[in-house]
């Protein structure tokens, strides 16, 4: 992993946020936020409630338009001009805080919709399940430990299984950048460990940004940490660095 030592060698910038401001009725959810994520990096973002973590993801994925600032992907794609669909098709995947799988579709069908494939309305009308696609779905089912549950409606899965299915959907889509919003929320310790292992595994061939509350989980990822507070970056560096940062201690412990 490329995180433990503080200044990593400058790679290609994948995600670039500069001076991003978002306000809702006068409340600044993001205040002049600047953040740079490099290609191949694993980054964790922590911060107290209301620090702007989810809003930051909303801005990157096109759900929220910033009032000011620039957001670029791969240096040239201006994300502030694109909608959710276009941004997803650029190769940015997102996992929500609350697991949102399609409850009325089977586990296999959920994965089928996430397959890296044409998204056109006509194409989907005439799409067929080829052996190649079936194989990729089967492989993903194995990897997320749901091989036994392929035919079950996603709605009957346990909470942890839904989280895994959602991660499986990101996996099978094969994106360049993954944004994971609290991926271990509501998981047992064992499931959390397994998820950490999976994320580290995934991070070998793509860029991942994880937003998390669980400090044990953040530590186990051993990645570069960005601390957000009141909509801007408070500190950035290794886990040890930010944990010993006086301002971070003050904000987190409320002193």
């Amino acid at each position: 992993m490329n995180a433990s030592s503080a200044p990593s060698p400058p790679g290609d910038v994948l995600l670039y946020l500069n001076g991003v401001t978002v306000s809702f009725d006068g409340f600044k959810a993001l205040d002049d936020l600047s953040l740079v994520v490099e290609e191949g990096e694993l980054r964790t973002i922590i911060g107290p409630n209301g620090a702007g973590k989810t809003t930051m993801m909303d801005v990157v994925t096109g759900r929220t338009r910033p009032d000011a600032g620039e957001v670029f992907f791969r240096g040239t794609e201006d994300l502030t001009r694109l909608d959710e669909t276009a941004i997803a098709n650029l190769g940015i995947g997102r996992k929500f805080q609350r697991p949102t799988v399609f409850e009325n579709l089977s586990v296999v069908e959920n994965l089928e919709l996430a397959l890296a494939d044409s998204r056109g309305t006509w194409r989907t009308l005439f799409a067929r399940v080829t052996p190649e696609r079936r194989g990729r779905i089967a492989a993903t089912l194995q990897r997320i430990g749901l091989a036994e549950h392929g035919g079950r409606p996603a709605g009957v899965l346990s909470h942890g299984q839904k989280q895994w299915l959602e991660i499986g959907m990101l996996l099978i889509h094969d994106r360049q950048l993954l944004l994971l919003d609290e991926p271990v929320a509501g998981m047992t310790d064992r499931e959390t460990e397994e998820t950490a292992a999976l994320i580290l595994d995934l991070a070998r061939d793509r860029t991942i940004v994880v937003v998390e509350h669980d400090m044990a989980f953040v530590r186990s990822l051993a990645a570069k940490v960005t601390v957000l507070h009141e909509g801007s970056v408070l500190a950035e560096g290794s886990v040890e660095h930010v944990q010993n940062h006086p301002r971070v201690i003050e904000v987190y412990l409320g002193r």
Binding site: T61, R63, D83, E84, T85, A88, N89, G93, R94, F96, T100, F102, E103, N104, L105, S106, V108, E109, E112, L113, A114, R119, G120, T121, T124, L125, F126, A127, R128, V129, R134, I137, E148, H149, G150, G151, R152, P153, G155, V156, M169, H173
Partner: protein
């Protein structure tokens, strides 16, 4: 375990399905005409001539319900303006039938329909041109509702109008058309609409054989419409629609265009509704602005809801059953019909929220996944329709 796998396509077209489909087809396309043509009137098995257009009318309603179920049951778009697409298709057919009257009208004008002579039109308005050709009229039956729905739907879905708001603007749409078609200067016969048809494709519309032909066309049309809807819902696009019904923004983040998918299915549905309207008009012999009335569109939603939305077959069942009840009750005790309809809707929503077909599917679901309290969540708040009706 592979009961509902990606092989959804294969399941949708199982042998069991085809046997059921063939049996229904046999009854509607072979048995009914046979009982009508060969069994002597008076026999308990006879299908008298007066019943044929009535059955045909039910089949048109069934097709209309099917079109609403496609958008409501699968894509979660509760259109309360589907009666408008039905009426637009009906008017296109009515215009063809008017042009066929020729000199047999009261005023014997070879070009202008009676109401135009009466309203002192000097020449045929441009939008009536071409309707003397059946092929042109048939194209308009599909194009007019289709293009209208595409423009309306694309604008609404692009602006992300959903749920109750969308239902309300579809009501407003049909209400606006209702008012517009009432006007004499619209050129569609105003309040009286289009009627006194003589023949269709050269056959006298009053002849029992022509009526049987129209009934058969409705039955075949319904069958084709059903297969089309089923192939859409069984495709990957069908799964995208179900997915966006339940979690729309999630579908966007997967990279699918929600706007395009919705606009497609809304347009396809409007075309089906238009065809249903076109088959309906020659069988009932009139089309007038009342078809646009907002209450009509709400009634369609009740058929679908009672039959079971998101099932296709439920829509057909609901439309036929409720209209049978309507025919009987509006004859036997017309004053209680609207109370009956309202009561039926309230009680079916309370007792069978998934409708008749949905109720049986739920039983099957419980058997398949024992121990799970989960069943498909209801996508839309039924009380919305109830409030609209009240």
């Amino acid at each position: 375990m592979e009961t509902r796998s990606t092989a959804g396509e294969a399941n949708a077209w199982s042998i069991r399905f085809w046997i059921g489909f063939a049996l229904c087809g046999l009854v509607l396309v072979v048995l009914v005409p046979l009982l009508n043509r060969t069994v002597a009137p008076g026999s308990p098995f006879a299908v008298p001539d007066y019943l044929v257009p009535l059955l045909g009318k039910y089949l048109c309603y069934a097709m209309l319900a099917l079109s609403l179920d496609l958008v409501w049951g699968y894509a979660g778009i509760l259109s309360l303006g589907h009666g408008a697409f039905f009426a637009l298709g009906g008017y296109a057919m009515g215009m063809y039938l008017m042009r066929q009257i020729g000199t047999r009208g009261v005023y014997q004008n070879p070009v202008l329909p009676d109401f135009m002579v009466f309203l002192q039109y000097k020449e045929l308005p441009w939008f009536w041109w071409g309707f003397d050709h059946f092929a042109y009229a048939a194209a308009m039956v599909m194009l007019v509702p289709g293009v209208f729905a595409l423009v309306f739907g694309w604008l609404a879905f692009r602006s992300r109008v959903t749920g109750v708001y969308l239902s309300i603007i579809t009501q407003a749409m049909t209400y606006a058309l209702w008012l517009a078609f009432f006007r004499n200067d619209m050129g569609f016969g105003g309040n009286n609409g289009l009627t006194d048809y003589k023949d269709i494709l050269g056959f006298d519309v009053h002849q029992p054989t022509t009526r049987l032909g129209l009934y058969l066309a409705s039955a075949v049309g319904l069958g084709i419409a059903y297969l089309l809807c089923r192939s859409i819902t069984a495709s990957k696009l069908g799964r995208v629609l179900l997915a966006l019904r339940d979690a729309e923004s999630r579908v966007r983040f997967l990279g699918y265009s929600v706007t395009n998918a919705k606009a497609f299915v809304f347009t396809a549905s409007a075309v089906l509704a238009g065809i249903a309207g076109a088959l309906y008009v020659p069988q009932v012999g009139i089309i007038n602005p009342s078809e646009f009335s907002p209450g009509n569109s709400i009634e369609i939603a009740i058929w679908v809801s009672v039959g079971g939305r998101g099932t296709l077959s439920g829509a057909i069942l609901g439309a036929v059953l409720i209209n049978l009840a309507k025919t009987w009750l509006t004859g036997a005790a017309p004053e209680i019909w609207s109370f009956f309809l309202g009561g039926l809707f309230v009680f079916s929503t309370l007792l069978f929220p998934r409708g008749i077909v949905g109720f049986f599917e739920q039983l099957r679901w419980a058997r398949l996944w024992p121990g799970s309290s989960n069943s498909p969540p209801l996508p839309i708040d039924e009380s919305v329709v109830a409030k609209e009706k009240a």
